[in-house]
């Protein structure tokens, strides 16, 4: 069963890892609806 297709996704990215918009692009390519995308910053 698919994890992402047709699901609602929340993307919590990291400024020094993988940022939110990059995660969003991947999730959308898997058929997910990205409802919220954010990028955290520890520095």
């Amino acid at each position: 069963m698919s994890i992402l297709n047709g699901k609602t996704v929340i993307a919590i990215g990291d400024r020094d890892g993988i940022p939110g918009p990059a995660i969003q692009a991947c999730a959308e390519s898997a058929g997910a609806n990205v409802i919220f995308s954010s990028t955290e910053c520890f520095v």
Binding site: S2, I3, L4, N5, K7, T8, V9, I10, A11, I12, G13, D14, D16, G17, I18, P19, G20, A22, I23, A25, C26, A27, S29, A30, G31, A32, I35, F36, S38, T39, E40, F42
Partner: protein, 107 residues
């Protein structure tokens, strides 16, 4: 996890039903991945944010884990994320994510 992000996660889970929401994270380290994953499953372990004591049990993956990676368009993943696999310690991240999921994910 940022307090505002916790608030949004909580809102969406309540609004849409926790079984319908998947959280994807992009942290650079195993410990930070586990912290974010724990926050959206068992609750905020730092006792600071709106998810303190709230066990949403959401499905949560790191964006580089095989299970979700297999579902992405290969070219988009290649463009957006793949380079970071050479930068992060993926084995550690996967191990920590699996541990959190096995303990706290309900869906």
């Amino acid at each position: 996890m940022d307090l505002e992000n916790q608030r949004r996660v909580k809102e969406f889970a309540e609004q849409l039903g926790p079984e319908n929401v998947v959280v994807l994270i992009g942290a650079s380290e195993g410990s930070a991945s586990a912290l974010a994953a724990e926050t959206v499953t068992a609750g905020d372990p730092t006792y600071a944010g709106p998810l303190t004591g709230v066990s949403l049990g959401l499905q949560v993956y790191h964006v580089c884990e095989d299970a979700v990676k297999a579902e992405f368009d290969e070219a988009i993943y290649e463009d957006q994320v793949s380079m970071m696999e050479m930068v992060i310690d993926l084995d550690d991240i996967v191990e920590q994510m699996e541990s959190i999921r096995s303990q706290f994910t309900k869906y």
